[in-house]
Subunit: 379 residues, 2 copies
């Protein structure tokens, strides 16, 4: 079906097929997010490490020797999956930041990424925002995720999220209702849709955007794999936004990754009476995240060079900018009825010249008018 040179590779890639196969093999016998593995591969090269693993004695060596990376790549290709590795044109440049970050024992640049969809990962990631939050979010949180994702997508920013119910799904839906494709980073092999209830969503995502996973086809999600996956959402995007998250949630973990990586962290506040406001509020209070209420806030933070945000300005009062004396005169005239200069002078203790000067300014600003009887009333 294809020569070995382009099995599972990205268009225009200059990576040796031996290197790609070695990475598939190493990923099989190790767990993702092990910084020691990433470092060994960076230091000695994937091919040398894989060669070493094939020499292992015992069960682990047997496991390595029984594995057929080429068959896995070809199987993936038949399912519409490609396997990206560092050096591919499509490899997102921001992922290299993971090489130097270890958080709670996990970290490292991924050995490779399985990708499904018609977009190019590097391009979508270049100008992107991570959006995370609770699976069991409230309708308030869902609404915010939809609106904010729609806004940034409409401005050409891709949304990167997971594949869970709740905020993840709302972020994808909101973004897909505008013009920029989204990226779903999953904690399982892309041959399966997890959760199955989001199968329709995943199919829509990879029509224009991408499904991405560090895990090979056939691999299942575990809690640790979700935590490991979170580092990819944080690393791929310019900044990450949390919409809702209960205490000690996976959301907090993603935001920790964003901080460790020096990414912009953002949080949407909510009612303090909701347990799902816990993580956003803690992040804002501690200064770890910036409070965000509108899509333009996000654009301002992740794209400072972009055109001015269109935050709606509060209406100005007509009396704004009045000097105190003129304001005092304005206040001294009742909403209904009128006041003569004499009455105003007596009430305020202002001299008549001062009063007339104030009334002149108010008249100029169309705030007061003299009625036919010579008394002043509000416009």
């Amino acid at each position: 079906m294809s020569t070995s040179e382009d099995v599972g590779s990205a268009k225009g890639a200059s990576v040796r097929i031996e290197e790609r196969l070695a990475r598939v093999g190493i990923a099989y016998v190790t767990e993702p997010g092990d910084p020691a593995v990433s470092k060994a591969v960076a230091d000695f090269g994937a091919e040398a490490i894989w060669e070493g693993m094939l020499q292992w004695s015992g069960q682990r060596g047997l496991k390595a020797r029984e594995y057929r990376p080429e068959a896995v790549l070809e199987g993936g290709l038949r399912q519409g999956l490609r396997y990206l590795v560092p050096g591919d044109d499509e490899w997102p440049r921001r992922l290299t930041d993971l090489a130097n970050v270890v958080f709670r024992g996990f970290g490292g640049e991924p050995l490779g990424l399985w990708v499904k969809g018609s977009a190019r990962l590097g391009e979508l990631a270049d100008f992107s925002v991570g959006m995370v939050g609770s699976r069991s979010c409230t309708s308030y949180g869902e609404r915010q995720a939809l609106e904010l994702a729609h806004h940034v997508s409409d401005s050409g920013v891709s949304v990167i999220s997971g594949g869970a119910f709740g905020i993840d799904a709302a972020a994808h839906r909101g973004a897909m209702s505008a013009r920029t494709p989204t990226v779903a980073v999953l904690a399982n092999g892309l041959d399966e849709y997890y959760p199955a209830g989001n199968a329709g969503l995943f199919e829509r995502i990879c029509e224009e955007g991408l499904l991405v996973s560090e895990l090979a086809p056939g691999e299942h999600p575990t809690r640790v794999r979700f935590l490991i996956r979170n580092r990819l959402i944080a690393a791929l995007s310019i900044g990450t936004l949390v919409v809702e998250g209960a205490a000690r949630s996976g959301t907090q973990n993603t935001m920790n990754w964003a901080s460790e990586l020096g990414r912009v962290s953002m949080a949407v506040p909510g009612p303090v009476s909701s347990v799902f406001s816990y993580t956003p509020h803690e992040l804002i209070r501690s200064g770890q995240a910036v409070l965000v209420t509108h899509g333009s806030d996000i654009l301002e933070l992740i794209a400072p060079g972009a055109p001015e945000p269109v935050r709606p300005e509060p209406a100005r009062r007509r009396t704004d900018g009045l000097e105190p004396a003129a304001l005092a005169v304005y206040e001294a005239i009742p909403a209904k009825g009128s006041r003569t200069v004499g009455e105003l002078s007596a009430k305020l203790g202002f001299s008549v010249p001062k009063l007339l000067s104030c009334l002149g300014k108010l008249e100029e600003g169309q705030l007061v008018v003299k009625n036919p009887r010579g008394a002043w009333q509000l416009c």
Copy 2:
């Protein structure tokens, strides 16, 4: 009914009656919050300034000469009002900070304060928090004001607020449902209750706490007087909290006073979909206010020496603190069913000694247990 020496004065005061009467007079012919008046009084003494005002020519001099400060003080006393001035034991020491702050043309330490109620203002203000927010608040905001005010009052902190419907009233009610009296600072003479709908509330407040105003009996509220009043709420308290505030609200003005005075500013977040969240969110985003979600947050900020706050801690997961290898083993055992050492070793690629070490740690933490068939299952 009394000698001139104690007319309207506070118990234990050493202030001359001439000084007190002069301040009542000056307050009558000027507007409160005029920093030039406060400065002149500070520089030359109230008696000299009042003497000068009595010499004024024209309408203003007439107004001064027709006024009878002693009658006003006595009239106030008959209505249960006393007039405090700087130098009185009860004068709140924090008000002197106003002497050096001018904001939008207004400022200055008040010439005096009319007070109604059985508490002593200096004592209540010493350990107090300002609480402000929208008149037309939401039920969410009202609930937060009630709960937070109750919490701080229960800890011995007095709540200082205005007398409006909405957040002001909720703050007083919440605080009065606990043990510390409250202070309502009003923008009108204390002979009248404004708004009249809060008359019952005002009567309850001055049974144990205090009504306070810079304005003499007979004076009416204006918008400017509300803004001037706001500086007193900010100046009297250690810190001020905003619960809800729309854009360009008086609430924002109070928080500006708190900032100008170097007081702690605090804000309760809310749904971003509510217009009443505008002011709190802007203050938090800009770093002007600290995000607050619980009464203990307020105590922590205004009373750093006080006992540790009782913020509810999120429940810890039983797997918190496990090293990655042990966590991987834990995750590899299904919720239902069991796994043998051989199965786990094959799945994880761990050597048997490493695996047994992990299982030992998990067993110690009562996370896993060996069943009678020798396989491991979750506890």
